[in-house]
């Protein structure tokens, strides 16, 4: 009978394990319930207790993070926002990685049915959410709780936002990122031009000559004539839009856009303009003027090449050039970056693609009215000119310091500075200049030089922008054709043609294949949308 106790022991262990498995399953429900209680309590506490008795409500906000860590509920940024709105915010750490890591994490959260309260959708994933009723209807609440957002965004932009409602009822489901100025631009290193003794190129041929000089000579002056990359881009052909824009191809961060060609709304990737642009890019690649590693460059590698004083010319966001210049200066203090504009090509009207509605910036999960109102109050905070300084400068002590009554911006440090989560999402030249003024006022002399260089770039790129006809086109036009929506087919043909593995004639095959595998239907939907908004 010596083994009896042991038998009992095993049995008990088995029973414990069994209950553990069972309770593990019901754990999710318990969590949801308590979650519901919490928000109810928040609602109930409203009428009775004034101010202090009320528990702070927190909104989970997701966007692209600049910082390398999570944004905490009691972190400095959340506390600053709380002080004005009574609503705090937080976000777990989610890597950005050109958006691919972000969208994967976000979609995982969506798949588990637990959406963040307020988030930035990516790659058009808001369309499916709208269709399934997972997003809050903002039509009534937005003008009431975020009047500055409502007033500052032009009505015509709201019309486009309404056209995205899948039910056709014109409800508002997202808040757009609005820019009424030229956001993107192409740049060239003036100090490199000086080193090779050339002028700023104005035409395509001059540009090519300059790139050849960068390739052949020691343009960066480090003693090695062969470490210069004349022009570079990123994997999937991203961020070299100026090479396409020169030929009048509507392009948004490397993704073809919709614009009028021969008077009709057309996917820019299937136009003769695209063919000409590809031929040009193929030539650049063949002559090793375009970075041979372009299609393998991750965002971080691309950035590193620029920072290490290896790149002569590239395309990116005008407003961000101060960070680039700041970093290049660590390697080469003589850095002088100027706007390239768009070199002219005979027979083509080049432009840089402007979109007033850059993309959907914020959507709110349809949880309960209080969550929606809280999320809107955060957006209102960001759009209210009264808070413009805080929105722009960030938190004292972390993003800037006050010295002798002057605000000094601290150098950007993603390891220590929290992301300015509620950065301004409505900007025209007025706001841009105001922001620049803030920055210049609070700069040290070295910083001032960088900001002035940046501001000159922003100003000089303005005339090259053109708002494309497909501005704000809803991603639902691609429903059922995900390879067209992801631009997968375009990316395959484009990259293989540019690296010279396929001849340029393959482009005609692409147009044909694209049209046949859904492009016709997508084009019909796009044109129907265009007629609907009646531009």
């Amino acid at each position: 009978m010596a083994h009896t106790p042991r038998r009992w022991g095993y049995a008990a262990m088995g029973a414990v394990l069994a209950t553990a498995v069972l309770s593990g399953c019901s754990g999710g429900n318990a969590g949801e319930q308590s979650d519901g209680n919490r928000t109810n309590a928040g609602n109930g506490g409203d009428p009775g207790g004034q101010g202090k008795a009320e528990e702070t409500r927190y909104i989970e906000v997701w966007r692209n993070l600049d910082s390398t860590f999570a944004i905490e509920k009691d972190g400095p940024y959340s506390k600053m926002v709380q002080a004005d709105t009574g609503v705090g915010l937080y976000m777990p750490f989610v890597a950005w990685n050109s958006g691919s890591a972000y969208v994967q994490k976000l979609n995982t959260r969506i798949a588990s049915g637990e959406l963040p309260d307020l988030f930035m959708p990516w790659q058009g994933n808001e369309a499916a959410l709208m269709k399934q009723g997972a997003l809050a209807d903002l039509t009534e609440l937005l003008p009431e709780y975020a009047p500055h957002v409502w007033d500052r965004i032009p009505q015509e932009v709201w019309d486009v936002v309404r056209s995205a409602d899948p039910s056709g009822e014109g409800r508002i489901y997202y808040v757009p990122l609005v820019q009424t100025y030229t956001y993107y631009g192409a740049y060239i290193r003036q100090d490199w031009l000086d080193n090779v003794g050339m002028e700023l190129p104005r035409t395509k041929d001059e540009y090519v000559e300059v790139l050849r000089a960068f390739r052949d000579q020691d343009a960066n002056g480090n003693g090695d004539p062969s470490d210069e990359i004349p022009v570079t881009g990123r994997e999937q052909g991203r961020w070299m839009d100026h090479l396409f824009g020169m030929y009048g191809v509507a392009m948004w961060e490397g993704l073809p856009m919709w614009d009028l060609y021969d008077g009709e709304l057309t996917y820019s990737a299937i136009t003769p303009n695209m063919k000409a642009a590809l031929e040009f890019a193929q030539m650049l690649y063949r002559e090793r003027l375009l970075d041979p590693n372009t299609f393998l460059n991750k965002g971080s590698e691309w950035t590193a090449k620029i920072y290490n004083d290896k790149v002569g010319s590239w395309y990116h966001i005008n407003q961000g050039m101060n960070v680039r210049i700041e970093n290049i200066a660590k390697v080469n203090p003589d850095v002088n970056l100027v706007a390239l504009g768009l070199p002219e090509v005979d027979g083509y009207d080049g432009f840089i693609t402007n979109t007033q509605i850059n993309r959907p910036m914020w959507v709110i999960a349809d949880k309960d009215e209080q969550t929606t109102i809280d999320a809107l109050s955060l957006l209102e905070w960001s759009a209210d000119p009264a808070h413009a300084e805080q929105v722009q400068l960030g938190v004292e002590g972390m993003h800037y310091e006050v010295q002798d009554g002057k605000r000094i911006l601290l150098p950007s440090d993603p390891d220590r500075q929290e992301t300015r989560m509620l950065a301004s999402f409505i900007t025209g030249m007025d706001e841009v200049q105001l922001q620049a003024q803030f920055q210049r006022d609070s700069s040290t002399p070295e910083q001032l030089r960088v900001f002035e260089m940046r501001d000159a770039i922003v100003a000089e790129m303005q005339p090259y922008g053109k708002t494309v006809a497909g501005d704000g086109i809803p991603s639902s036009i691609y429903d059922g054709y995900s390879d067209l929506k992801n631009h997968t087919m375009y990316q395959e043909y484009m990259s293989k043609i540019i690296i010279g593995e396929w001849p340029i004639d393959k482009f005609d095959e692409f147009v044909d294949k694209w049209t046949k595998s859904g492009g016709e239907e997508v084009t019909a939907r796009a044109r129907a949308w265009y007629n609907l908004i009646g531009r």
Binding site: A18, V21, A111, Q132, S495, K496, K516
Partner: protein, 322 residues
């Protein structure tokens, strides 16, 4: 599997005893209830995490909308299967999947066997253990890391191209050329998992009775002879089981591996069912169509397992999985 065998044996015994089945079961429960209690967690695990989710496969026949729930989503029949087969690049995706699956069987699968045989021949225990540990390590790297290393090693400033330059050859951008893609997939698979795969085989080799080797030695068999006439035949059942387990996943390749190595320039040879599922399903949140494709992969896998299982049984008694 052991449980099933046990159950078969006991039920056989009670049948011999010629008692009514029902009473026998009750009696067994009373007599052996601690054993049943111990089996409970395992059974529950499979029920809850493996069998219950199977019912979720119905979404393959529905237009599943996550916020409307299972019941509210409309039935659509074979729509998602049809959409998959009518996908313009279906032929390409399917061919790539078959080819890479085949390469995995032909090149990747035998590698651990060879490696295990080599390990087994090492005399110094310390050397063997150290070597084994080194070979296991890559298994714990995620594919993201391994793909990162691969891109680096093969980049135009990487070690391979540095060597090529050294002997006067032009650098080659391996990752953007179709002709290298499948070889890279095979090589990275071997690099990551060959060492890990030896564990089961080494255990099987350790289980071989040393007397067999001793008598072979007496008969004058050398090391090579012993490998081919003793070790290999005796681990064959284990190899067969591993093979059957592998063939069940013939169509579902390692998504993480291929996705991380893939670029638009290599879609032609590397776009497989799983990467397609990712684009359509995960990015687009089309859970129904991904389930349909998953179901398709599982059915093919099941057919292959059943087919090869019967072949295995013909090859040797008790050879198959079941």
């Amino acid at each position: 599997m052991a449980d099933a065998a046990q159950a078969r044996r006991t039920s056989h015994n009670t049948a011999v005893g010629a008692r009514p089945q029902r009473q026998g079961l009750l009696r067994e429960l009373r007599n052996y209830w601690p054993l049943y209690a111990m089996a409970m967690p395992g059974v529950l695990f499979f029920l809850v995490f493996k069998y219950v989710p199977l019912a979720g496969s119905v979404i393959a026949f529905k237009d599943y909308m996550i916020f409307k729930g299972l019941a509210e989503s409309p039935w659509v029949g074979w729509k998602h299967f049809r959409a998959f087969f009518e996908y313009p690049d279906f032929a390409r995706v399917f061919r790539n999947t078959l080819l890479i699956g085949l390469y995995n069987l032909v090149f990747v699968f035998p590698f651990p066997i060879v490696l295990a045989l080599l390990f087994n021949e090492l005399r110094s225990m310390a050397y063997k253990r150290t070597l084994q540990t080194i070979y296991y390590v890559p298994h714990f790297f995620s594919w993201v890391i391994i793909a990162g290393i691969t891109f680096d090693v093969l980049s135009n400033t990487g070690i391979v191209n540095a060597l090529r330059e050294w002997v006067g050859l032009e650098p080659v951008l391996f990752m953007q050329e179709e002709r290298f893609f499948r070889s890279i997939v095979v090589l990275t698979s071997i690099w990551r998992d060959a060492g890990w795969g030896t564990i089961v085989l080494l255990a099987a080799i350790a289980g071989i009775n040393p007397e067999v080797y001793e008598s072979a030695l007496v008969d004058g068999a050398g090391r090579i002879r012993q490998i081919f006439s003793i070790t290999l035949p005796l681990i064959m059942p284990t190899v067969l089981v591993l093979f059957l387990l592998q063939i069940g996943h013939f169509l579902d390749l390692s998504f993480e591996q291929i996705y991380n190595l893939l670029t638009p320039m290599t879609y032609g040879v590397g776009d497989v069912i799983d990467t397609y599922v990712y684009r359509v399903g995960i990015i687009e949140a089309q859970y129904s169509s991904t389930t349909a494709i998953g179901l398709f992969q599982s059915v093919i896998g099941l057919v292959l397992v059943l087919g090869f299982n019967s072949l295995a049984k013909r090859y040797q008694r008790e050879g198959g999985l079941f």
